[in-house]
C-alpha cells in the first residue's frame, strides 16, 4: 500500500469510511435538488437561451452583425474562442499531468475539472463554427472528397491544425472522463431505488462489475490516456497560438507564443476550477474532500503559471525594443500607451500582480480571497487575448485604415450566452453525475484519510488476518448446508439468531452494569448519531458510565449486535470520550 509522509496534511478530513464517501458523493444526486439549484439553473438557462437567440440572429443575418470592420477582422469571436480553450486546459492537465506525477490531491477535483474542460471546449468550438457564417457547411473543414474536383483543405494552415487539435482534444478528454466515470456510475446504479434512475445509470455504467482484471486494465488505460493527453494539452494551445504566431502581424509574430499561451491557459483554467470548486464544495457538502490544502495547491499552480505569464509579457516588451523592428516596437508601445491602454492595464494588474499575492500563505489559504482572485484572473485572461488580438490589428500599416473596435450587443450577447450555456451544462453535471471520482478517492482513504493517518494504531495494515468471531461460524455452516439442498439463486446474509442476540445482550449488560436512572445524551459521543443511539438504548446502554467501561471485548460484542458500524466504536474511542463527558458533567 502507498504510504504517505505523516507531515503531509491529510487529503480527506474527518472520520470517513468507504461507505461514507459513497454516501457523501451520491446523496446530492439521489436527493431532491435544492431550490438554489433550480434558481441558478433557470438563470443560466435564460442567459444561455439569449445567447442562442443571438447566434441564430447572427446566422440568419451574417457576421456583419458583429462589431468587426475592415481593419479589425478578428475581435470578440476569437478572443472568446481562445479564452474558452484556455479555460478548458485545466481539467486534462489536472487529471493527466498530475496523474503522471502521482499527485493524489488531484483525485478530489479531477472529475469536475474535466467536466469543466469538456464544456469549455464546447463553448470554444462554437466560435469558429459560427464565424464560418454558414454553420451547416462546417464539415468543409474536413478532408473529404467534394464537388470542387476534390480540392483538399490546406494542411499547411494553422487554422486547419486548430480543427484537428481541438477536435482531438475534445474527443480524447471526453473518453478519458467517461472511462473514469463508468465505475462511479456503477456505484450509483447499485444504490438507485427509482426504476428510471436505475435503468439510466445501468446504461451509463456499461455493466461495470469491478473485477480485479477490469481494474487492472482500468488503471493501465488511465495511465496511457494520461500519457497521451499530456502532450496533447501542450500541443493544443501551442497550435492555438500558431494561429497568431505564424502570421506577419507585429505583436503576433513572436516565437514566445506557444509556451506563453500554454502557461496562460493553465493559469486561467485553474482559476476557473477554483471559482467552480469553491462554490461546489459548499453547495454539495464536500468540504471534507476539497479543503484548504487543495485550494492551496491550486493557488500555487496559479502563482507559478501566473509568474510565467508575467515573465512572458515583460520578455515580449523587451524583445520588441531589442529587436530593433520599428513596427514591432510600435505595436507594444501602442498597447501600453495607445487608446487601448486600459485593456493593457487590466491585463497587467489581473495577470501579473494578483497571482504574486499568493506568495503569502495566509492569502493562498483564504477561501474568500482565492475566490476573488480566481475571478480577477479570468477577467485578466480575457483582456490578455483582447489586447493581443485587437490592439495588434487596430493600427494598420496605413494610417488611413486605423480603426477602433466597438462590440455590438450581438457580440456581447453571444459571449455572455456561452457563459450561460457553460453553467447550464455544469449544473446538469453537478446534479446527475458523481462530482468526485469515487473509486479514486476511496483508494487514497487509507493513505491520506485523516482518521487513518492520525491514528496509526487502528491502521488495518497488519499482516495477521483478524480471526472470525467464534459464534458466527456455526451459523455460516448451517447456512451452507441449507443452501446445498436448494440450488435457488439466493443472497442471504449470515445473521445472528434470536437466542444468540439475547445471550450476547445479557453478557454485554452484565459487564457494563445497568443504566440505573441515568440517561445521558449519547449523541454527544463523536460518531454516535440518533440511529446508533437508538440501537444502544435498545440493548440497554443509556449512560456515559456504561460506555466508559467498554473495552475491546465489549466493542466486539457491540459490533456483532448492532452490525452497523464495525470497528467504529473502537476507532473513535467511545470509552475515552464518555469518560471525558462524565467528568465534564461532574465538575
Amino acid at each position: 500500500m502507498h504510504k504517505e509522509a505523516a507531515i503531509r496534511e491529510p487529503l480527506i478530513l474527518g472520520h470517513k469510511t468507504y461507505h461514507d464517501i459513497t454516501e457523501d458523493v451520491c446523496r446530492p444526486i439521489e436527493d431532491k435538488a435544492p431550490k438554489t439549484w433550480y434558481v441558478l439553473f433557470a438563470i443560466a438557462l435564460i442567459i444561455g437561451l439569449y445567447g442562442v437567440g443571438c447566434i441564430l440572429y447572427l446566422l440568419g443575418t451574417g457576421v456583419g452583425v458583429w462589431g468587426l470592420n475592415k481593419t479589425i477582422g478578428w475581435a470578440w469571436d476569437i478572443t472568446n474562442f481562445v479564452w474558452w480553450v484556455g479555460i478548458g486546459h485545466a481539467g486534462t492537465l489536472i487529471s493527466a499531468v498530475l496523474l503522471l506525477f502521482r499527485q493524489k490531491w488531484r483525485m478530489a477535483i479531477n472529475r469536475s475539472a474535466e467536466a469543466m474542460t469538456i464544456f469549455a471546449v464546447f463553448m470554444a468550438g462554437l466560435f469558429p463554427l459560427i464565424h464560418m457564417g454558414r454553420l451547416w457547411l462546417g464539415y468543409w473543414v474536413l478532408p473529404i472528397p467534394n464537388h470542387f474536383g476534390s480540392l483538399w483543405v490546406n494542411f499547411n494552415s494553422p487554422l486547419l491544425w486548430d480543427v484537428f487539435a481541438i477536435s482531438t482534444y475534445l474527443s480524447v478528454s471526453l473518453v478519458f472522463w467517461y472511462i473514469g466515470l463508468i465505475p462511479d456510475f456503477a456505484t450509483i446504479r447499485d444504490r438507485a431505488k427509482k426504476p428510471v434512475a436505475k435503468k439510466m445509470y445501468s446504461i451509463l455504467s456499461f455493466g461495470w462489475s469491478g473485477r480485479a482484471k477490469h481494474w487492472n486494465r482500468f488503471e493501465l488505460v488511465s495511465l496511457v490516456l494520461a500519457g497521451l493527453a499530456t502532450p496533447l494539452v501542450f500541443s493544443v494551445h501551442s497550435i492555438v497560438s500558431f494561429d497568431f504566431a505564424t502570421s506577419v502581424i507585429p505583436g503576433w509574430h513572436t516565437t514566445i507564443f506557444p509556451p506563453y499561451f500554454v502557461a496562460g491557459a493553465v493559469f486561467s483554467g485553474f482559476a476557473m476550477v477554483q471559482t467552480l470548486m469553491l462554490v461546489m464544495r459548499k453547495a454539495m457538502g464536500l468540504e471534507a474532500y476539497i479543503h484548504r490544502k487543495h485550494v492551496e495547491y491550486m493557488n500555487i499552480v496559479i502563482m507559478v503559471t501566473g509568474s510565467i505569464v508575467g515573465t512572458a509579457y515583460i520578455t515580449e516588451l523587451f524583445i520588441s525594443w531589442y529587436s530593433g523592428v520599428e513596427y514591432e516596437a510600435y505595436a507594444f508601445i501602442n498597447r501600453a500607451t495607445g487608446p487601448y491602454w486600459w485593456a493593457y492595464f487590466a491585463m497587467m494588474t489581473c495577470n501579473v500582480v494578483s497571482p504574486q499575492l499568493m506568495w503569502f500563505k495566509k492569502l493562498r489559504r483564504s477561501l474568500i480571497f482565492t475566490f476573488i482572485i480566481s475571478i480577477v484572473v479570468n477577467i485578466g485572461m480575457w483582456f490578455e487575448r483582447y489586447v493581443i488580438i485587437v490592439t495588434s490589428l487596430h493600427r494598420d500599416y496605413l494610417p488611413s485604415s486605423w480603426s477602433m473596435h466597438f462590440p455590438t450587443h450581438i457580440d456581447i450577447g453571444v459571449y455572455v450566452g456561452t457563459i450561460g450555456l457553460f453553467f447550464v451544462f455544469f449544473l446538469l453535471f453537478a446534479r446527475f453525475f458523481p462530482v468526485l471520482a469515487l473509486n479514486e478517492v476511496k483508494s487514497i482513504l487509507k493513505s491520506s484519510g485523516e482518521s487513518y493517518k492520525n491514528a496509526p494504531d487502528t491502521h488495518r495494515d497488519d499482516p495477521t488476518p483478524t480471526p472470525v468471531i467464534e459464534t458466527v461460524a456455526p451459523v455460516v455452516e448451517e447456512k451452507v448446508e441449507v443452501k446445498t439442498k436448494e440450488p435457488v439463486k439466493e443472497t442471504k446474509k449470515a445473521k445472528l439468531s434470536e437466542d444468540q442476540i439475547k445471550d450476547k445482550t445479557a453478557a454485554l449488560i452484565s459487564k457494563l452494569g445497568g443504566a440505573g436512572n441515568a440517561i445521558d445524551d449519547l449523541k454527544q459521543i463523536s460518531g454516535v448519531g440518533p440511529v446508533l443511539e437508538g440501537k444502544l438504548n435498545s440493548i440497554g446502554i443509556c449512560s456515559f458510565d456504561q460506555v466508559s467501561k467498554m473495552t475491546k471485548v465489549e466493542y466486539d460484542l457491540l459490533d456483532e449486535l448492532t452490525a452497523s458500524f464495525p470497528g467504529r466504536a473502537e476507532r473513535d474511542d467511545w470509552a475515552g470520550k464518555a469518560k471525558e463527558l462524565m467528568n465534564k458533567s461532574n465538575s
Partner: protein
C-alpha cells in the same frame, strides 16, 4: 456441467488481500475479486497477468501515424499540390514540418480511441450490458472473493468454507451456475 460459486465478502481491502494470500498458499484457486476500487497488489496474488492494452495502444498509434503520413502526402503532394504564397508543395520531405501538428494529433487520436474501444470490448462493458457483480455492495464498500468449485477439484465445499472462516470474512454466499 453444474458449477458452484462461493462468494466470501470482506469489509476491508487489506483483510481480503491477506486472506487471499493465505488461501493461495494453501492451494486454493481464487477465481475473481470484486472491489469498489482497484486493490493494489491483488493481481499477482490471485494470478492475474498484467494487461497488454498498452501494446495495443502503441500499435494503434503506429496505424494513426502511418495513415496521417500517407494522407498528407496524398492530399498535399500527390493529388493536388497547391502553391500557397509562392511556397509550392514539391515533396513530402520539404513540407514535412507543416504536416507535423496534424500528424501528431491524428496519432494521439487513433491511439486513445483505439485503446478505449478495445478496453470496452474486452471488458464486455458496453452500453446496456447487465451488471455482473455478485452483490450490489461491491461497488460501495464491500469486497468479494469468488471461488469456483470446478477450479478447486482437490477440495470439498466444507473444506473451503473452513479455510475461509479464518480469513476475516464477514459474509458467505453461494450460487449454482
Amino acid at each position: 456441467m453444474a458449477d458452484k460459486a462461493i462468494y466470501a465478502m470482506y469489509d476491508d481491502d487489506d483483510v481480503l488481500k491477506d486472506g487471499a494470500k493465505m488461501l493461495v498458499s494453501k492451494g486454493v484457486k481464487v477465481n475473481d475479486v470484486y472491489s469498489p476500487f482497484p486493490i493494489h497488489g491483488i493481481d499477482p496474488i490471485i494470478g492475474i497477468k498484467n494487461t497488454r492494452l498498452g501494446i495495443m495502444s502503441f500499435i494503434y498509434a503506429l496505424v494513426g501515424l502511418a495513415l496521417a503520413t500517407y494522407g498528407m502526402w496524398f492530399f498535399m503532394i500527390d493529388d493536388w499540390p497547391m502553391n500557397i504564397g509562392g511556397k509550392p508543395s514539391f515533396s513530402y520531405k520539404e513540407n514535412f514540418l507543416s504536416f507535423m501538428p496534424i500528424t501528431f494529433e491524428f496519432t494521439v487520436l487513433c491511439a486513445a480511441h483505439g485503446m478505449a474501444i478495445t478496453y470496452l470490448i474486452i471488458n464486455k462493458t458496453l452500453p446496456g450490458m447487465p451488471a455482473q457483480n455478485p452483490d450490489p455492495r461491491t461497488t460501495d464498500d464491500k469486497f468479494v472473493m469468488e471461488f469456483r468449485m470446478s477450479e478447486n477439484p482437490s477440495m470439498t465445499q466444507t473444506e473451503l468454507v473452513d479455510l475461509l472462516k479464518n480469513t476475516g470474512m464477514t459474509e458467505l454466499d453461494q450460487k449454482d451456475i
